[in-house]
Structure formats: C-alpha cells, structure tokens
C-alpha cells in the first residue's frame, strides 16, 4: 500500500489542474506496479473539481472501474469533500464509458457553457 499525503505533495490548496496531474501521475505509477493507493487529504483546506478532475478523473482512462474501486482509497475528507470526490468519480466513470462521439459531445457542451 502506498500512502500519498496530499498536504505534503501539493499543499493545503488543491485547485490547480497542473497539481492534480502530478498527483495523477504518482497514483498511476503506484497502481501500475500493482500497489494499492491511499490518498490522504488530511489538512487540505481547499479542494475543487478542477483539481480532482485532473487528479482522479484521468485514472479512469488507464484503469478499470473494478481495479480502482479495489485499489484506490481516500481518507481525511470532510463530508462535503467526500461527496465531491464521489461526484467526480461518478462523472469520470460515465465519461469513460461513453463512446468517443459521446465524449466529444460532452466536451463541446462543457466548453460552450458561457458562450451563449
């Protein structure tokens, strides 16, 4: 089991997708080696979707839902952040289960939100 303490790796403000990508790479490396990964969010003050999307969403591109359900765990989340993590994971599962055409459609809708 590899424990990744977010406060040590990223700090208390988890907003930036670039930071999320770093976390994704770390998790990805450990999971590829067959290790279980425990993400410890203790001490994190700000946690947003922009960060979580890059940190967690990307894992669903490389690993199955079953693998991630078994091998990826979270601790140190308050109830609000726990719900947010669940939402990001649910959306990632939905996204990667979609066909490439459907993924493009979702991307288009998201990018146009403020263009109307």
């Amino acid at each position: 089991m590899q424990t990744i303490r977010i406060i040590d790796e990223i700090g208390p403000v988890c907003v930036d997708p670039e930071d999320g990508s770093l976390l994704c790479q770390q998790s990805c490396t450990a999971l590829s080696q067959g290790l279980d990964v425990l993400l410890d969010f203790s001490g994190v003050k700000t946690l947003t979707s922009s960060f979580l999307n890059a940190a967690l969403g990307c894992l669903f591109a490389s690993f199955s839902v079953d693998t991630l359900t078994q091998k990826l765990k979270y601790i140190g989340l308050d109830p609000t952040d726990e719900k947010l993590v669940r939402l990001v994971v649910t959306n990632a599962i939905r996204f990667y289960a979609a066909t490439p055409e459907q993924q493009q459609a979702m991307a288009a809708a998201t990018s146009r939100a403020f263009e109307y």
Binding site: G11, V13, V15, D16, P17, E18, D19, G20, S21, C24, K45, T46, L47, T48, S49, S50, F51, L52, N53, A54, G57, C58, F60, A61, T80, D81, K83, L84, R86, L87, V88, N91, A92, R94, F95, Y96, A98, Q102, Q103, A105, M106, A107, A108, A109, T110, S111, A113, F114, Y116
Partner: protein, 225 residues
C-alpha cells in the same frame, strides 16, 4: 473589441504572476465554473475545456490568492447563475448523448441545443433532474467552502438599488451591474472575471486572463500591475 472610450475600470492581467494580489476579491460566475465544475476526464482525454487559458490561469491564480491570504468572495446571484449553468450543461450532456433524443422544436426538426430549449429538455428528462440537482448541490456546497458570499443578510434591497444605478450608467448587462454594485457595497473594488464587459464599470479593478479585456485596457492606459 471594446471601444477605448468605454473602458473605465482598471485591469490586472492575472497571467502575469508578478501582478499584485488584492486583499479581497469577488469572483464572477464564469470563474466559479472553471474552478468548481467537474469537466470530467477531459484533461486526461487531451481536451482542456473550457478554453485552455481559462483552465490554466484562473485555478493557478486562485491557488496563489488562497495561499496569499486573499479573502475570496462571490455574490449570491453569481452562485445562482453558476448553479443554473451547471444544470443546463448537464442537461445538454444528457440530450447530446441520448441516441433517442427528442427534437427540441417539432416544427423545426434538427435544431441544435441552445439555452432557449433548457426547459424543454428539463421536462423531457424529468426523471433525471433529482440526481443532476444533487450533483449541483454538492458542487455548490464545495464552492461555498472556499468563498464568502455577499451580500450579507439584510442588504439585498440596498444592493439592488445600487445595481440599478450602476447599470443605467453602463453598457453591460444587469447581472454584471449587480455583481459590481454588491461588491462595491461590501467595500470590495476587485472583481475576478473572464467577462470583458466588466471593464466598462467605473471604480473597480478587474482581475482577468481575458485577452480582449487586457488588450482594451492596454489601449486605454488602464492596465496595471
């Protein structure tokens, strides 16, 4: 392009990491969206949407601001707009990925999605409204953890009156005027937004990565560090 004559606000280019941080700032709905709405797996899929300059600069600036002790605020009406946009985007996603999706206008087949069809789509997918709104609720709860909300109880009517005054004097829409008036009413002149129209308001500083706003401010001598 916004005519130089109409540029009244000062503008800070947040792409410049050396720009000064304000003590307090009020975030617009478009920034809340970029930071707090889950753009699901798109970064991993190679697409950084919304536009890459938004997903790159606003979260990075937000991180700097939070670490630098900036008081991050928003306006209740921005949260309402944010919630509406998120719900609309989710509905559009469902409609676009539904192989049996309904025609939006039976009299004009083949219509693409636009906000005017939001109610049509909402009614069609009424069975999915609750989970969508539970997701929006989670997103809002998460957002509210990182921002203070203006106005505080009891100030709504005064904020509305100020908004009307500001709106009449500007060329922007009423929502922008309400945002500016509420921020100013709370003693905050700094607005974080990707909406170039905000630079037409007097007496505020707009923190932005929007090149249209930055270019217009530069041309009119309103770009500051």
């Amino acid at each position: 392009m916004i005519p130089t004559l109409l540029v009244k606000a000062e503008v800070v280019d947040i792409r410049n990491r050396k720009s000064n941080l304000p003590r307090r700032v009020v975030a617009d709905a478009n920034v809340l969206y970029v930071i707090n709405y889950d753009v699901t797996g798109l970064a991993a899929a190679g697409g950084r949407v919304p536009p890459s300059y938004q997903t790159r600069h606003y979260p990075a600036w937000w991180k700097l601001a939070a670490r630098g002790g900036v008081e991050l605020c928003t306006v209740a009406s921005c949260l309402a707009e944010f919630a509406h946009i998120v719900e609309r985007t989710e509905l559009e996603n469902i409609w676009r990925t539904d192989p049996n999706r309904p025609e939006l206008d039976p009299n004009r087949p083949g219509q693409d999605f636009s906000p005017k069809y939001t109610k049509t789509v909402r009614n069609h997918y009424h069975g999915q409204i609750k989970p969508i709104r539970e997701g929006v609720e989670t997103t809002l709860a998460s957002t509210r953890k990182s921002v203070n909300i203006l106005p505080r109880v009891g100030q709504d009517e005064a904020a509305l009156n100020r908004a009307i005054q500001v709106w009449v004097e500007s060329t922007a829409d009423f929502g922008d005027a309400h945002l500016v008036a509420t921020a100013k009413g709370a003693g905050i002149a700094n607005i974080l937004s990707d909406d170039a129209d905000l630079i037409t308001f007097e007496g505020i500083v707009v923190y932005t990565a929007n090149q249209t706003a930055i270019g217009a401010a530069q041309a009119s001598g309103k770009l500051i560090l």
